[in-house]
Amino acid sequence: MTAAPALEARGLRKAYGTLLAVDDLSFEVAPGEIVGILGPNGAGKTTALQLALRLLHPDAGEARLFGLDPEDLAARRRVGYAPDGAHFPPRMTGQALLELHCDLLAIPRSRAIALIGQLGLEEPARRPTGTYSRGQVQRLGLAQALLGEPDLLLLDEPTAGLDPMGVARIRAVLVELRGRGAAILLNSHLLSEVERVCDRVLFVKGGRLLRTHDVRGSMRHAEVRLANAPAVAARIAQAFPQGTLEGGRFRIAISGEEAMPAVVRELVALGGEIVEAAIKGAELEELYLQLVEGRA
């Protein structure tokens, strides 16, 4: 018998008057998996998250958390949610807020202190949340989502308003959570972040799922800039028939990082003068533009 997915959505539909926000949306998030949702503004990404948690009532379809109804208290004990631009009682300090959530979860308040340290909130935690910057609100929102050490974490634009250090912290937290088997659903506009941490990506537009893309399973590309591309073009074309050489850049699909040194060695052996070499991702941006923006 296989375990139930951490999150399973089937045929979710939600309309606001004549506006169809989510239409027949189905997806799953398995334990130990990070799934990203990508789409333009108004694509229904946030609504999808809210429907999955039953913060909104679906017009049709249903969501299950660990095989349970989203309002089941046993399911909620295992869920963390950080909304975009979370709002907290303005006169309450960050620490008092986290301690309130500790009490609601019936866990020791020391967990709040630990997360305050982990997310770099030591100074703001003593202040009322009404005085927080956008980035501090985001970090506090993440801290409250992580309090119960959730098995399912839903994050809505978690890196919005964060400085690079904050983004790196969140990335580290997500990778650590995945390592211990948590399922994560990440709604972010940052393609590079999604590409970096996600295992799968859901492309959404007009409330509909356009395509699911397997980031880990897809091919990556070696991209090498050559100073003398015209001089070595013929030799490279003969040695790498699958590769392309355009505008001084040679590109070829590789299975992973381990294949990169061999490509570089071969190019040098063919007489190529290498200026720059990099592994490019699964072309998420191209895929995004193609699927979501409709560009060829």
Partner: protein
């Protein structure tokens, strides 16, 4: 975790609402009024103290549920292992706690001041009258919670004030405007069921009114839970 109300929510609500400047200011006025007067069975059902206590209830109950939903904090809290009923109960209980505390403080100050002036006989009846005198106010607080389950922002308080004034004018003006219909006795009878009633009169406690007040409070609480169960929690983006 209590199924009827969540104690952490009640504590947070009491702190949030009770320490808000308007609530503190009204409590201070109540204390000053009590210090200058003498507590009586009708302290909370008529006169200046009753007006200020009603105002405190209005301030505490304004947007009691809706403000948390609209701010987005309710959705985070209600993703915890806590039922909606326990959350509603916690919000109501926390606000009720502030009303009771403010009333008790003012009452105690009034007793001490009256004692110092030699105007208090020390009868235990004064102490039993306190919670009964506060009960109608708690009934109105529960009514505000029920309205807040379906309205936006602080409009529940405005709606309740409008309803009470509307009823007051209707009760007094309709018999005069339509004398042939003889509405006076009917409206007077109906008035006994329009909201919680003062269960303490000059002769003491009126059990039927006391029962009505308890019923009203519990009914409004139940209605608040039932209505809030239908409400969506997600905050709409502007």
């Amino acid at each position: 975790m209590n199924r009827l109300f969540s104690w952490p929510i009640a504590r947070q609500t009491a702190r949030e609402r009770g320490l808000a400047p308007p609530a503190l200011a009204i409590t201070l006025v109540l204390v000053l009024l009590a210090a200058g007067g003498r507590p009586s069975p009708g302290t909370w059902s008529g006169g200046a103290s009753a007006f200020w206590l009603a105002l405190l209830v209005l301030v505490l109950g304004a947007g009691l549920l809706s403000s948390e939903v609209e701010s987005g904090h309710a959705q985070l809290v209600l993703l915890r292992p806590i039922t909606r009923a326990a959350w509603v109960g916690g919000r109501l209980f926390g606000s009720a706690l502030v009303v009771c505390l403010a009333g008790a403080i003012a009452w105690a100050v009034g007793l001490v001041a009256a004692g110092a002036r030699g105007g208090f006989d020390g009868s235990p009846a004064w102490f039993t009258l306190l919670p009964i005198g506060l009960l109608p106010h708690l009934g109105w607080l529960a009514t505000l919670a029920a309205i807040s389950a379906v309205t936006r922002g602080w409009s529940n308080a405005a709606l309740l004030v409008a309803l009470r004034f509307g009823w007051f004018f209707g009760r007094n003006a309709l018999p005069l405007a339509l004398p042939r219909w003889n509405l006076g006795p009917w409206l007077l009878a109906a008035d006994r069921y329009f909201g919680p009633q003062d269960a303490v009169d000059a002769e003491g406690i009126v059990p039927s009114l006391l029962f009505w007040d308890v019923l009203w409070f519990l009914g409004a609480w139940l209605l608040a839970v039932l209505l809030f169960n239908q409400r969506e929690l997600a905050r709409r983006r502007p």
